[in-house]
């Protein structure tokens, strides 16, 4: 019984959607600030006070358009944005009462209302003969595609995976996007028209970037980070050690949770301190793991996972441990037995091991210590694109050193691992591409 209840949690909504009454009451809390700080805190710059006032005046479809004008993934961002470190952190309600307006949930109320009608609040401009290739059907790529299609351009989106959506489809915990929301949202966005999707198509091997550049008027790279950082410790190649992103993807795409449940470890150790680590840990717990420990090498306050996410994990029964760096994973007869960690401390701004060790019983280890860019996409490019620390360098318009290539999302320098930032990159790139092509074609 307990286990089935947990499986329900795995696929049920983290926050119940606001009812109409809840939304009206919450909307009434917004002060409609002048030059509102929440707008500045939103990477896509949504006019938050305006959309909340539209909800309050029972104009939720108008509210949704205000949101979509800046962020066509407003529905997903309402679900996954760490609002407590973005818009809601800047809400002036925090000053007086430490309880911000629930901007994320109001955003969901508005976008859900309009999306339920199946109608987009936009009409596509007359089709132009300009063609743009987009690599990656994640938030960056599709945001770019939507804005370009809106302006009348013809867009082709390539994605290596069978389904579009990127990390929205493969990389976010199920309880944040129930009822196939990610897939429905992609369908909604694509309904603008003028966007062709080519799935299961990797760029770099058969179809190269140079070919895209020659066939299309512009290229946008939004393929994210396909590679996984290695722990670099003995034992990480053993069965039972898995990349957390793949673990989440497997879970999201599975139609058979019972079988996954039977395979979950008894003692799961998740190494890392970001959202992915938390998503993997909480879902492991829901799948029935008895002990789930998130182990992070720095102090807890340095975790990338937001305070809300950390609390969510703790409420779900996950133990958070910090200042521990992995040293060795011990297996016996092909099965993981334990993982050794070394305590750390920060000395003179540097993280160093203390020499003291801790052993955690573990039969499954999920690794969530970040990803890196797969350079295969850029391979063979005649004019190499300027890179920095393994990622693509872009200007404020998201244009790369190659003037026919724009890029956004996790694969660019400064990409901050947030859906909302990827959406903004795509939007800015689309406007820049549009302006560039208009100037070029008169």
């Amino acid at each position: 019984m307990v286990q089935s209840a947990r499986l329900d949690k795995l696929k049920s909504d983290l926050h119940a959607p606001l009812t109409q009454h809840d939304a009206l009451v919450e909307a009434d809390r917004c002060y409609f600030c002048h030059d509102a700080p929440c707008i500045d805190a939103c990477p896509t710059g949504i006019d938050i006070p305006l959309f909340i006032r539209q909800i309050k005046t029972r104009n939720p479809n108008g509210a949704a358009k205000t949101i979509f004008d800046e962020n066509i993934f407003g529905g997903m961002c309402a679900r996954v944005c760490p609002t407590e470190t973005l818009c809601e952190q800047k809400c002036v309600r925090n000053v007086g009462e430490e309880k911000p307006v629930l901007i994320g949930q109001l955003q969901r109320f508005a976008t859900d209302t309009l999306m339920a009608t199946g109608k987009q609040p936009y009409t596509r401009a007359a089709q132009r003969d300009t063609r743009i290739a987009i690599v990656g059907a994640g938030p960056a790529g599709l945001s770019c595609a939507h804005r370009l299609a809106l302006h009348g351009h013809q867009v082709t989106v390539f994605d290596s995976k069978p389904k579009p959506g990127g990390l929205n489809e493969y990389g976010i915990a199920a309880y944040k996007t129930v009822d196939s929301f990610a897939a429905k949202e992609v369908e909604y966005i694509m309904s603008i028209g003028g966007i062709e999707l080519q799935s299961d198509t990797s760029i770099g091997e058969k179809l190269t970037l140079d070919e895209l550049k020659s066939k299309y008027d512009a290229v946008f790279l939004g393929m994210g980070l396909g590679g996984v950082n290695a722990l670099g410790i003995p034992g990480e190649d053993m069965p039972g050690v898995e990349n957390a992103v793949e673990f989440i993807a497997r879970l999201r795409q599975s139609n058979d949770l019972d079988s996954l449940q039977s395979k979950i470890g008894r003692n799961v150790v998740v190494i890392g301190g970001g959202m992915t680590a938390i998503d993997a840990a909480v879902q492991s717990k829901h799948l029935g793991a008895e002990n789930v420990t998130v182990v992070y090498r720095r102090e807890q306050s340095a975790m990338n996972a937001s305070a809300f996410e950390q609390e969510l994990a703790q409420k779900s029964g996950v133990l958070l441990r910090s200042n521990l760096q992995p040293k060795e994973i011990i297996s016996a007869a092909g099965v993981i037995q334990k993982t050794f960690f070394e305590y750390t401390e920060t000395k003179g701004g540097k993280l160093v091991g203390t020499g003291e060790m801790l052993c955690i019983d573990s039969d499954q280890v999920l690794v969530a210590i970040g990803q890196n860019m797969q350079h295969v996409v850029l391979q063979g490019s005649r004019a190499p694109i300027s890179m920095k620390a393994g990622r693509i360098e872009v200007d404020e318009n998201r244009q790369s050193s190659d003037k026919s290539v724009w890029a956004g999302g996790d694969c660019i320098v400064g990409g901050d691992d947030l859906t909302v930032s990827a959406v903004q990159d795509g939007k800015l790139a689309a406007e820049s591409i549009h302006t560039t092509l208009e100037n070029a074609h008169g």
Partner: protein, 433 residues
């Protein structure tokens, strides 16, 4: 402990809170429940002549809400009692017998003939009721038949009917006034001329509470149509307060007792009515919104406030604020205030800035040294109080009086000398001495 006992035109009640003539006082069962809850008195729902009227069989009420569905205003298209006259008279008699310490006033509305009024007044007298209230206020339905507000809008009729009643009964006569007129002083003076013992006001304000945009029917909708109704509740309180004050400070009616009605929801509302000259208050919408139990809050709140403020009896409060209501031209133009923003309390919403910038006097900053910062520019501030009105934080913005120095806006010395519109040197249109 303050003494809440009330005596209004000779009618005694344990507290100054009466239920107004309305659905809560329609029947014995309601009124007994009210008295059990602790209400000081009732004005029984308006009696008319037989055959009794009939009400609509669809919705009678419409509401205006705040976003959290708090009821701010209520409108109704209900008429006077829809039960036979004798039924009401019998019940009034029983209740008055069983609750002798509570005020029992009976509201009346009959056609404008002396005989009709004489007949019904006699019947009410037989019940042992303490007084009558003449319903010259009801704005809907009955007014189409020449009663209610149709009388209340013609001062001559008010005076005439009041006089008939006074001549035909020893019971105190209270005249209930409609606000649906231009100047409330005229009907009040007419009631006074007719010998009325008191006026009560306000009755409801003619209103259409909302329109259903799907059906294009006004609300409440009767089969797709609507009719104007009477508006009441917290929304009408400011209108009622002003009308009470107008009568209380009119030399011709300043001695005429007033029963204050209109949006009394809390003890504080009641105290405000008393302070402007009402001898007691009548309540309806608050009871219809929350039930009779609110009387516990009304009495305890009024009593505690009177204790703290040093008032021993209700009569001590009555009219305390009336002398401070003046004609505009008498206000002191040498009283200078400037808004002041408490930076510790400011949440930086910027509302004060934007409303001052867009709609007033460009007297509040939005930036200081490149940072979000809201501060009053005394050189521009006219002291209008709009920023205080829109600030969402209690006491964050206050109006501070300038008592010395130079007003940076006008460059003139601050004077402690009283100077009004008719005398102030700044006013070129002042009346020459």
């Amino acid at each position: 402990m303050a003494d809440l006992a009330s005596e209004f035109v000779g009618i005694k009640s344990p507290n100054p809170f009466w239920l107004a003539s309305a659905p809560p006082t329609d029947k014995l069962i309601n009124v007994v429940r009210a008295f059990e809850a602790g209400w000081g008195g009732v004005v029984w729902k308006t009696l008319g002549e037989d055959p009794n009227i009939v009400n609509v069989n669809g919705p009678r009420y419409g509401a205006v809400y705040s976003s959290d569905r708090t009821l701010i205003g209520l409108n109704n298209i209900e008429l006077i009692t829809d039960r036979p006259l004798q039924t009401n008279l019998d019940e009034i008699k029983i209740v008055k017998r069983d609750w002798p310490d509570r005020a029992m006033v009976v509201s009346l509305m009959v056609p404008c003939e002396e005989k009709n009024w004489r007949d019904i007044v006699k019947k009410v007298e037989d019940t042992g009721a303490d007084g009558i209230e003449l319903n010259f206020g009801c704005p809907h339905g009955m007014s189409e038949r020449g009663m209610g507000a149709a009388v209340g809008q013609v001062p001559e009729y008010i005076e005439m009917v009041a006089r008939w009643c006074k001549e035909n009964t020893k019971m105190p006569v209270i005249v209930k006034l409609t606000p649906n007129i231009t100047d409330i002083r005229f009907p009040a003076r007419a009631a006074n001329q007719g010998g009325a013992d008191a006026v009560s006001l306000i009755n409801t304000v003619s209103s259409i509470v909302s329109v259903n945009l799907d059906t294009m029917s006004p609300e409440p909708s009767i089969d797709g149509w609507g009719s104007h109704g009477g508006y009441c509740g917290p929304a009408v309180k400011p209108i009622a307060l002003n009308m009470v004050a107008e009568i209380a400070r009119d030399p011709e009616t300043s001695q005429l007792p007033i029963s204050g009605i209109g949006g009394v929801t809390t003890w504080r509302d009641a105290a405000e009515f008393l302070s402007l000259g009402a001898g007691n208050v009548q309540v309806c919408t608050a009871a219809m919104t929350y039930g009779f139990k609110i009387i516990d809050e009304l009495t305890s709140g009024l009593s505690n406030w009177m204790d703290e403020a040093g008032y021993a009896t209700v009569a001590d409060v009555v009219g305390k604020a009336t002398p401070n209501i003046k004609d505009w031209q008498n206000l002191n133009l040498n009283y200078i205030t400037k808004a002041k923003i408490n930076q510790d309390l400011c949440v930086e919403c910027g509302r004060c800035h934007v409303v001052c910038e867009d709609t007033s006097h460009q007297a509040i900053t939005s930036m200081l040294d490149g940072k979000r910062h809201f501060e009053v520019i005394n050189e521009e501030c006219v002291g209008c109080n709009l920023c205080v009105c829109v600030c969402p934080v209690d006491n964050c913005i206050t109006m501070e009086e300038m008592t010395t120095g130079v007003d940076p806006r006008t460059g003139l010395d601050v004077s402690k000398q009283y100077a009004n519109w008719t005398t102030h040197p700044n006013n070129p249109g002042r009346v020459a001495e």
